[in-house]
């Protein structure tokens, strides 16, 4: 008996198929049951009829989507004139501005890190990574202390006599949310940019300069094209979580601004409105699928694994 188990084990390890089943099998099953199945179920629920007690009636219907959008078709303005659609558009704007902010802040630092190595690099990376590893909730909370009419920013400026009454820009709202999200996702951009800039042969830059290219021309024609995979993967890793952000707009919007993640969360947690929640989530999922499909035209999936 014992001997036969032993041979079984051995043959499992010996054949190629056995090895594959042993290594790739468990995670495929696990992710299949706990990632693919739930997402598929959510897509299904979003296209089903949900009754007033929030139970699923197994009848295909577009009612859930009808709740989110206004009456009419996408090219009519009534279609966009609902709380959900307005919040969706606002979320896109916030996510795009955050991505642009992260890129313009991270690029100079990533460039510097790629050109310098050694001790300075290790210290700077530690200083960047530490806030990154710190709880996301803590970082959003730390900005909650900074903003607001009595927040640290306004209080300090008032104390210094630089302003006579609290500035609106340091109050809670869209600018505060953008600052909070930039702070939260900046390291993703930095690390992606660094990973691709670090692989660049900088003698190419010198060659271009020697051949008479101006600095902006070198940036545009040499550095940016070579850093493109990093720019694209960094942008995805900032844009996607910003779009579905929940804590940051909750803390830094203080109810004045509602992003799509907050709307969905509210309906699910207070009412368990699974139809509304899953249909709303589909907008995020669809945006991600489109964003990744666009990205894959320029970069390989392997290059996206940088973070």
């Amino acid at each position: 008996m014992a001997a036969s188990t032993d041979t079984n084990n051995r043959s499992l390890l010996r054949t190629a198929r056995g090895k594959l089943a042993l290594t790739a099998g468990p995670s495929t099953i696990w992710l299949g049951l706990l990632l693919l199945a739930p997402l598929t179920f959510m897509v299904t629920v979003s296209f089903m009829n949900i009754n007033e007690a929030y139970n699923i009636v197994w009848q295909p219907s577009l009612d859930n989507y009808g709740q989110l959008t206004g009456p009419g078709l996408p090219w009519e303005s009534s279609f966009w004139n609902t709380a959900f659609m307005e919040s969706l558009l606002l979320s896109y704007v916030i996510a795009i501005v955050t991505t642009v902010m992260c890129f313009s802040l991270a690029f100079p630092l990533a460039y510097l890190l790629a050109r310098k190595g050694g001790r300075v690099f290790k210290i700077v990376i530690f200083l960047v990574l530490l806030p990154f590893f710190t709880m996301y909730l803590v970082r959003a909370y730390s900005w909650l202390l900074m903003f607001g009419p009595n927040g640290v920013l306004n209080a300090t400026l008032l104390k210094l006599g630089m302003i006579s009454e609290p500035l609106a820009v340091f109050n809670f709202g869209v600018p505060a949310i953008i600052v909070g999200l930039t702070h939260a996702y900046f390291p993703y951009m930095l690390l992606s940019l660094y990973a691709s800039l670090d692989g660049i042969d900088f003698s190419l830059v010198e060659a271009a300069r020697d051949l008479g290219a101006s600095r902006p021309a070198v940036l545009k024609d040499v550095i940016l094209p070579l850093a493109l995979p990093g720019i694209i993967s960094g942008s995805l890793f900032v844009f996607v979580p910003s779009l579905g952000a929940f804590i940051t707009p909750r803390f830094l919007g203080q109810g004045k601004v509602l992003m799509i993640g907050q709307l969905i969360e509210e309906r699910i947690n207070s009412l368990y409105a699974i139809g509304y929640g899953s249909a709303g989530s589909m907008f995020i999922v669809l945006t991600i699928v489109v964003a990744f499909a666009l990205a894959f035209r320029y970069v390989d999936v392997d290059e996206l694994g940088g973070v």
Binding site: P38, R139, S142
Partner: protein
């Protein structure tokens, strides 16, 4: 005449050279300046928070009323908060163990085996990291609460609580282990294993004595990543935790009810603990390389 021309060119070259040097210097200063400002931007809110955690007046800088440690004392004697901290550590440990076992096995499949749909397998593997927390949280909540809980006999297991949260976080932590360990395996010299086998070691002995010691730092780093991800996650836990509280959800309700002093103290404490963990990890293994995916060792 000829000498004159020569002179002029000489002067311009020299001027250009100096001009170039000055510009280079200013450019470098500008870059360092931006980098410095960025670090200030990253650090200022955290520094303010740490400062407020030891200030008598915990809500804002002014009026400043002196230093105190009473907020820390109150935080660490709050039974609800300490229970939540304990729950978080438990969930993170179990979830990271599952993620590590599955992630290490899957890394071997990626690095060692050739099979159809390999790139799909890889994309599928990093998907939990890409799907936004709100979406993953809601999808799993509906799946557990509406679908699995309806199954007779075992359904009760899937009522949101400890188990569902562990399952959720095991999925969330998986990609981090996969990325780190597979990156290590790609650079692994397989001849070492062949040599061990030629010298008569069994596959399991080879794994234990040759493979494992070499990939151990990467496995450790993967576990640490998965652990931290679970520990710091709020949104996925918020949906699948049921009535149990973990640290992040307890902190979230504290902010809702405006208990800032304790929030400052527990947050500052977390920053400190993570700083120590990160410094240790960076000295043990090349964390930056794992994170930034830089050139392989």
């Amino acid at each position: 005449m000829a000498t004159n021309t020569e002179n002029t060119t000489d002067v311009t070259t020299v001027e250009r050279f100096f001009d170039h040097r000055t510009r280079e210097r200013w450019l470098r200063r500008g870059l360092y300046g931006i980098a410095g400002l960025l670090l200030v931007f990253l650090w200022i809110p955290l520094a303010v928070m740490v400062f407020l955690s030891v200030a008598q007046n915990a809500s804002t800088l002014f009026p400043f009323e002196g230093f105190t440690l009473q907020h820390y004392a109150a935080t660490f004697s709050d039974p609800g908060l300490m229970m939540a901290l304990f729950n978080s550590a438990q969930v993170a440990t179990v979830a990271a163990c599952i993620a590590t076992v599955l992630g290490v096995l899957a890394s071997f499949a990626l690095a060692r085996r050739e099979f159809p749909l390999k790139s799909a397998f890889r994309t599928f593997g990093i998907l939990p990291m890409i799907v936004p927390g709100v979406v993953l949280g809601i999808a799993l909540l509906i799946y557990f609460r509406t679908l699995l809980s309806a199954i007779p006999v075992v359904g009760d297991l899937f009522v949101p609580g400890f188990l569902t949260l562990v399952l959720t976080h095991s999925v969330y932590g998986f990609p981090f282990v996969l990325l780190i360990v597979s990156a290590r395996l790609y650079t692994f010299d397989e001849q070492l294993e062949e040599a061990a086998r030629d010298l008569g070691a069994s596959p399991l002995e080879t794994f234990r004595d040759v493979t494992l010691p070499i990939i151990a730092p990467a496995v450790g780093a993967g576990f640490l990543f998965a652990w931290i991800r679970s520990f710091e996650d709020f949104i996925r836990a918020f949906f699948t935790k049921g009535t149990m509280d973990v640290l992040t959800t307890a902190m979230f309700s504290m902010i809702k009810y405006g208990a800032a002093p304790k929030m400052n103290a527990i947050s500052a404490f977390i920053v400190l603990v993570i700083a120590i963990l990160l410094a240790v990890a960076m000295n043990l293994g090349n964390v930056t390389q794992y994170v930034a995916g830089g050139p392989d060792e």
